[in-house]
């Protein structure tokens, strides 16, 4: 899929909450001392944060870099699986808080961990068709992991936002192409009204994550006539540190090309925020002319693949907002008790 008129990223921003819990602290809680842990630590939203406030933070930095009149944004889409309201859009709150005008299309997307990149595609379509001058896509989550479940070690909070507009000197990177691969594969799900998701263990690997990520990436490369060597950087959905590295290997992409966007070890799996945050962190270091491969994964299941070409404006716009590493460096450790309190895991 190539947009009819070329579309690019006018501004991007990410946000990770200040609090961290070490995976070893979660292990201590559940008698898992000494076992191999999937990550080092994960980001924990504060007691007054939720997906909407995280989306706001990311969006404001994206606007800061975009440098556009917020009233020119015609759409705000938020992809998340931790919506504070089951019914009531989160995008309205973010738009109102950022002073985005009311001539606006707003919706919340859900497709497990790839809801954010679906919003990318919708924005690209709206902008390319001329139905919106600018459109904002946000992927954010305060991911839920059931206490003692293996997901609890990684389920984390964070998000990233991207403002799309027609490709110009103002865009920091443009979309070379995008495609999606979707099947009915229930590897991970959350039933309506349930506070925590369920999953089928290792079934989430080969038939789910790897099949969709690899297929989507190969479809994209084939469509664009590119090989793995043509990409300077790659970002994959990061449920843990192993999966994206293995996916890169399977595609023939060296691990070094993942490094800037491989955040999971330090912030955890931010679900819908995961690959968008990885893309933001990669844009923090990429140079004009670089080509970035991004492949998301959402359980249920599907993957969206994108190829971005970095443009000159990156140098000028990058310093206008904090890089992702500033948020990773800004951290306050909490113990399991505070984490349980912050995330509403205590019965009262």
């Amino acid at each position: 899929m190539k947009p009819i008129r070329p579309v690019g990223i006018v501004g991007y921003g990410g946000y990770v909450p200040a609090y961290r819990i070490k995976a070893s602290e979660i292990g201590r809680m559940w008698g898992n001392d000494g076992c191999a842990l999937p990550i080092i630590e994960k980001a924990v939203a504060g007691p007054d944060e939720d997906m909407t406030t995280i989306a706001y933070e990311a969006a404001r930095y994206a606007l800061q870099r975009a440098g556009i009149d917020p009233h020119e944004i015609g759409a705000v889409f938020i992809g998340s699986e931790s919506k504070p309201y089951a019914v009531k859009p989160s995008g309205t709150i973010v738009a109102e808080a950022l002073g985005i005008g009311s001539q606006l299309l707003a919706a919340d997307y859900e497709f497990a961990c790839k809801a954010g990149t679906e919003a990318f595609q919708t924005c690209i379509g709206l902008v390319s068709s001329g139905m919106a001058k600018y459109a904002m896509a946000i992927g954010a989550d305060t991911a839920q992991g059931k206490p003692a479940d293996e997901l609890e070690y990684t389920a984390a909070s964070g998000g990233a936002a991207f403002v799309f507009g027609l490709k110009s000197d103002e865009t920091v990177a443009y979309v070379e192409g995008s495609c999606s691969y979707t099947t009915d594969t229930a590897d991970f799900w959350r039933r309506a009204g349930q506070p925590y998701p369920a999953h089928f263990g290792r079934f989430t690997g080969k038939p789910a994550y790897f099949r969709h990520v690899i297929t989507a990436a190969r479809m994209l490369m084939e469509e664009l006539g590119l090989g793995p060597e043509d990409f300077d950087w790659a970002v994959f959905h990061q449920p843990n540190a192993k999966f994206p590295i293995k996916a890169a290997k399977m595609l023939g992409i060296p691990t070094e090309k993942l490094e800037p966007g491989l955040l999971v070890r330090y912030i955890g799996n931010t679900y819908s925020g995961s690959s968008p945050l990885g893309l933001a962190a990669t844009l923090d270091v990429a140079r004009p002319g670089d080509r970035i491969l991004m492949v998301s994964y959402g359980s249920g299941a599907g993957s969206d693949a994108f190829s971005f070409i970095v443009q000159d404006a990156i140098e000028e716009k990058r310093p206008l907002a904090p890089p992702i590493r500033a948020f990773i460096a800004r951290k306050k450790y909490v113990d399991y008790a505070s984490y349980a309190r912050f995330r509403g895991k205590l019965l009262r």
């Binding site: 504060g46 109102e96 950022l98 270091v285 310093p319």
Partner: protein, 140 residues
């Protein structure tokens, strides 16, 4: 909890919208229909600076019933770059890190949550300005 009351205050609480007197230039937050300095009724809405500095702070340890879930929390008296003073919670920091003069920036947070089924009130809170060092080759 009144939803209409909260809804009316959205500009003031989400975006720090205040009033500027077109006659004498004085700025107020919350909004005012009449300028107490010059008596003018000619007031316009103005979005206030989201940056300021801490003048004084306290740690609320005995909280009002509707804020009890968050205690203890820091409340600061903050002077915005526009010269307007506001009261706000100061988040993402330990009281030990705070001292008068510290630079703060506004963000959006949950203010109150009305039970598991009621509305969520959002509004401004402040936090220490996020700072970072430029890496080699970056323009910052």
């Amino acid at each position: 909890m009144s939803v209409p009351k909260f809804w009316r205050e959205i500009p003031h609480k989400y975006r720090l919208v205040g009033s500027r007197c077109r006659s004498c230039g004085a700025i107020y937050h919350p909004r005012r229909p009449i300028c107490p300095r010059c008596g003018s009724r000619d007031m316009e809405d103005v979005k206030l600076s989201h940056r300021g500095r801490l003048l004084a702070f306290t740690v609320i340890r005995r909280a009002p019933s509707d804020m009890a879930d968050l205690r203890p929390y820091v409340v600061g008296l903050i002077e915005l770059e526009d010269g307007v003073k506001v009261l706000s919670q100061v988040v993402d920091c330990d009281p030990a890190e705070l001292k008068p003069g510290l630079e703060l920036e506004a963000t959006l947070r949950r203010i109150r949550v009305h039970g598991p089924a009621g509305v969520i009130e959002y509004g401004y809170k402040f936090r220490p300005v996020i700072k970072w060092e430029a890496e080699a080759g970056e323009g910052q």
